[in-house]
Symmetry: C2
Subunit: 384 residues, 2 copies
């Protein structure tokens, strides 16, 4: 069964451990995004070598292709993806936002028109729990409605009530698991409420009463500004049950992560490392680096001289720039390896600082200007 | 300096060792193709782990981008590509064939219109030796004219005379290296003559007299049939100096490699492992496998159950098929890792069979039907 332990605190920040049916995860932790079961360009063995512990995949995408029954027949999501460690699946609630033109929402659930073949697929709070149980994930997420930005408080309140009703139904569905179900994973609730403090408070109070295994702050990274995002995290995190893990969905830059850790968040996911790599942007300890910039053409230094990742141990900026200019996928692979290592190493530094009580001195290394907040996962509407 | 030793023979086949300024290569050997300095999708460390020893890169492509001076300033091709082992560069002679619409040829050399920016670039037998010397390659290839297929004997003879004149000039250019040049690499001659036995004999006799460090059979894999290609190898290989390495350019399927080894060839390169991987075709010990075929959708077996490569140790056909159907580059990476491992392992088996005198029993594992001979390297005219 899923369990969580706070090992040390540093202000509101927590150094913890999430224990799952597929092993333990030291928190605060970053979860690399493998929407379809693998991080883009990164074989599972490579992700392991980089220190990845818990993988994030997406229920909507896997349900459409290859389908839940197919994965179940192959032994579940761990056997299918060849990822033996913990796996968290997002519920499809984000696709309510990102695929707004392809879905109809009602109080019962969501009907998507598949982005693959146009077929209608119905997601309900109950079916979403059931599908994740059949996949055998370590952490299942409830179905939620992720509202757009901007939104009026009245609309956000109405949307939140639906999300809360769905959370109650998901909680019941989890209890009502079929006899003989061997699923040992946990179920996280998701807080919505846009950037309205009153609604976030309502969400926290209601969901805490449902005794989920963990709590996610959703509805951020949808186009709001940094101020709204940070305020939402600061209001919300302290309201969440202290003994349960807290997950900030789809966030963000290294600065965002450090801010949220200081506010008491334990888990993160973001497509930024892989997406920036695809666009030739590398995180470094002295800021972002656009590898195809003319200044790197003849630069023999590694992408980040302070980094010990396989890419920085081996190749120069000049060679990476050469491959990126030519559009070689090797550039994307090398850059993704580095960016993932950067995020995973950054979280390890944060854990160390939490444990040693030096989190106040920890600096957010990495890009600042220009690193706009991306959607919280690989959106099918994005060009490949 | 470059040297070659025949350690054992098995019929006409040779088990040998090519010693280069950057280490020794056991032959017969397959050289993975890294046109721009890296195999598509494969970081250099991964290629090392798979057992790759000698890398093939392309002078035409590197001369255009980033340019010879840039690579020289960065410490040469080994420092630039982060490949510490031996490197062979093709001369641009193949681009005379593959970029026929972008070049003018005359007795002095070739003028290309760059496929990148349309700029005119002149390659001469002398400049090609000089550029490879400046790169610091282990094996340089002479500039040749790779004629199209089909061609009349008269045209092929005329083209061959130009190639032979260029070979003499390259040989002189090599001797005339500037004082203080520290280049320790070797220079290989290239035999042309299309599928005309008389012309191949003429090429072999003329080039043997020029005392190159090795001899390549060029002008194959240009559209001719298997019968012509194999006959050319069978006629030509025995005419080459027995103490020097023999390289069959751009060939081919596992069957082609085994055939050529039996005829006495030592070195090979081919884009087939990487290109087939890009198209979802995997080599296996029981034949080719198109991973997106419906039959693999639910198949939990590794791509090749007899293979010990990182891909086959980890992922199933079903997962690879899932990633390939979705167009994920992870599928290309995983498949390329396997196909390269397959070729490198196959050559290791051949070396073992050569040494133990069992080459006659060695079978050509891998695809047969449908595996058309590809061009001998990544052609810029091919869609990415």
């Amino acid at each position: 069964m899923l369990s969580f332990e706070v090992l040390a605190t540093c202000g509101a920040a927590r150094r913890g451990r999430l224990t799952t049916p597929h092993g333990a995860v030291d928190t605060p932790a970053f979860m690399p995004v493998g929407t379809l079961g693998a991080v883009k360009g990164i074989p599972p063995a490579t992700l392991e070598e980089l220190g990845g512990r818990i993988l994030l995949a997406n229920l909507y995408h896997l349900a459409l292709r290859p389908g839940i029954a197919a994965i179940e027949a192959l032994g579940g999501i761990h056997a299918f993806t060849a990822w033996p460690g913990p796996i968290l699946t997002d519920s499809g609630g984000y696709q309510v936002f990102s695929l707004a033109s392809r879905r109809r929402i009602d109080d019962g659930g969501v009907t998507f028109r598949s982005h693959l073949d146009g077929a209608e697929v119905r997601f309900t709070p109950e079916s979403v729990v059931d599908m994740q149980r059949r996949l055998g994930v370590d952490v299942a997420m409830v179905l939620d409605e992720c509202p757009p930005w901007p939104i009026t408080e009245e609309e956000a309140a109405s949307s939140l009530e639906r999300t809360l009703a769905w959370a109650r139904r998901a909680r019941e569905a989890r209890e009502a698991a079929p006899a003989g179900s061997a699923w040992q994973g946990g179920l996280f609730g998701i807080l919505q409420g846009s950037a309205f403090r009153r609604l976030r408070e309502r969400a926290a109070a209601e969901l805490a009463g449902l005794d989920f295994d963990g709590y996610a702050i959703g509805g951020v990274s949808v186009g709001e500004g940094e101020a709204e995002r940070r305020a939402t995290v600061e209001w919300t995190a302290p309201l969440l049950p202290p003994g349960k893990p807290r997950y900030l969905m789809g966030v963000g830059t290294p600065e965002d992560l450090l801010h949220a850790v200081r506010a008491g968040v334990d888990l993160f996911d973001c497509v930024l490392p892989a997406r920036n790599a695809r666009h030739g942007v590398l995180f470094t300890r002295s800021g972002p680096l656009k590898i195809t910039h003319a200044r790197y053409k003849d630069d023999p230094a590694p992408p980040d001289p302070e980094c010990g990742c396989p890419t920085c141990r081996r190749v120069s900026r000049a060679f990476l720039a050469h491959l990126a200019r030519a559009g070689e996928i090797t550039a994307q692979v090398l850059a993704t390896v580095h960016n993932l290592a950067f995020y995973l190493d950054f979280m390890a530094d944060i854990r160390e600082a939490c444990a040693s009580g030096t989190l106040a001195e920890q600096s957010a290394t990495g890009p600042t200007a220009g690193s706009a907040q991306p959607p919280r996962e690989q959106d099918v509407t994005e060009p490949a």
